[in-house]
Amino acid sequence: MRGIEEKTVLPNRTLRFQRRAMLKMMMTLPIAGLLPLSSLAAEVAQSLPDASATHEGASPWKLRILTPHEWATVGVLSDWVLPADEISGSATDAGVPEFIDDWLDFQRGDLLAEIREGLAWLDVECNRNYKQNFLDCSSTQQQQILDRIAWPENAAPQDARAVRFFNQFRDLTLSGFYTSEMGVRDLPYLGNQPQAEWRGCPTAVLAKLGV
């Protein structure tokens, strides 16, 4: 026999030992319920590849596919879609432009083409009406353009492509925002927390639902 790498790998004993240790810790918690996530999370974080190189929060952001002008337009536009309010910050606060640049680079194809066309359309329409690019327009002028395309049911037929673009852009902004740390807290999504036991639907919700 030659040239064959014997690939018999035994399961990782150390990690399985750690698992039992974690289990023991879970069982001895004073209050059954939410775990102190720190030790579990630390154990996981230790073994994960370093995501910081690709993390959208890293600054300064190195553009992946958008041009600097598109990037600036995406920033302003995404904050029109999701501005700051009393509960959370704006799209740019949450890193949505970084998400969009990365996502378009990742997906490419029709989505990228549609977004590119739409961003260009904003400038073309602003130049036609206000003799300047979207970014240089006043808030009122920007809003006038957006109002033409943000309400699909009321939009003029000749704006159909731009409406489709804005639908996509709105979806992208929502995706980027609500998958960010800020967005998760805004919803709020309260999961991804290991539980020692599952306690079902809270009494307050049961009462409200009448079930």
Partner: protein, 568 residues
Amino acid sequence: MTQPILSGDIYDAIIVGSGAGGGMAAYSLTRAGAKCLMLEAGDWYDTAKDSKWLQWGYDAPHRGESKTPYGPGGFEAVVGGYNVEGEPYTCATGTDWKWFRSRMLGGRTNAWGRISLRNGPYDFKPYSRDGKGFDWPITYEELAPYYDKTEELIGVFGSVEGLENLPDGKFQPPPTPRCYELLIQKTCKDLKIPCIPSRLAILTRALNDRPACHYVSQCNRGCRMGSNFSSPEVLLYPAQLTGNLEIRCGAMAREVLMGPDGRATGVSYIDKKSGEEVQARGKVIVLAASACETARLLLNSRNARFPDGLANSSGLVGRYLMDTVMSDVTGWIPSLMHLPAHNEDGVGGMHLFMPWWNYRQQLQGKLPFSRGYHIEIGGGRRGMPAPGLMTGSETLLGGGYGKALKQRSRSLYGSLVGFHGRGEMIPNPQSYCEIDKTVVDQWGIPVLKFHFQWSDEEIHMARHMQETFQQIVETMGGKTIESYGEKDQWGISAGGVGFHEVGGARMGSDPKTSVLNSHCQAWDCKNLFVTDGAPFVSLSDKNPTLTILALAWRTSEYITAQVRAQSV
């Protein structure tokens, strides 16, 4: 091709594939003392090391989008997909078939729904019941002891219900329902649709050295605690501890080797790392490569004695391919809005489901289709938000932008529920795979060409799903967001998308009309067995994994008994 390398040892058994069927064969055979070699086309994957469990999407590339694995398994424990580089397949004109291939240790048991339903008595004898399709050569009673053993080994939660054609099992206690599930259950009660605890291969109580679930709904990301069933965790590692199992990953099987006496003598495979062709020798060959890969292996194993492929004297290898019938509806339920925020993760799957409830009406000819479906449910606040969570915002949120849009998004969160119909396809002669005459993969192995058609039976079933789910949504006081009508063929899925492709080497009691006998032993080749989904004669609405496991265990015990009696 250069001269193949002859691997030294002669194994008692060579098992091709490390998923549910291969894993169970390895578990049973090694415990009986057989020296086994397992060939897996993918790489090693160990959840305890490779899983991205608990990692937030915003800490992962592309927010955890799983299409591009970064490191073993990516954000989810999936290596593989419909498109695997260097491994094409083709479709006949008019066929829309998607073939999911898993390329990792444990195969598809790493990321799956873990829905573990027994086939019922009707499901083994469908032809006898309604004159369509074919009967299995075994009865429910013959497989029941193996369902018992399998459930006790892997751990399945559920409830004893005593329902028609839904045999109860050896269950751990089920988790209590989520909020939206309780609302669905209440509605189903009004509509006289049963809505009961689901049956999933996830531990709610510790079992052996595996702790109970910790409820983060991340089964498909690879459970680091080993609290759910996967082949490596529950079958392969214990099999390795016997000292009788050798696993070779990166080993892509090309063909089953045969001796002059017509017996299988081994498997020829490509060592993907070195690119070398290796011949491993074994006394018994067990194929568990997934239904279509198993059919492909058989069809590609030809010689003068078997010119049309090994075990194919019936001409039925690759024939009667089936997949689950699927159609979905999404509903928006206003009463789920403005609820106090709560953690709805739970286990990595639904806590309740609706089994098929219309057996009697079908028997009386009151429905335009003959077989059943069950309903799987999802939605609410379950699971980490992922890209696409508000796709279709122009419909969902009525368009717009600004603070009002933000407020509407917040209110909408948690108020969507999904109904997923999963039904039985009746096998038909138009659905099969064969060897493509010209296309080969990167190693020169001829690839599969697929032919697939739904019949009116399945289309009528999809219509019934749509109408039922829309009725449930309306009864809940909700509005259907995503649904399908006649022009979309009632939203019926493309073949293969159900991930439940089975058949292609069916069991039977007559060598003229089946590939395998009632013990999944090839009629034409006594020491060749199949333990994946290929032996399935029908595909009931029940998800196939539990039946693959039980059947593989039964087959493996038969192999052991035959070897001991020197009959193989």
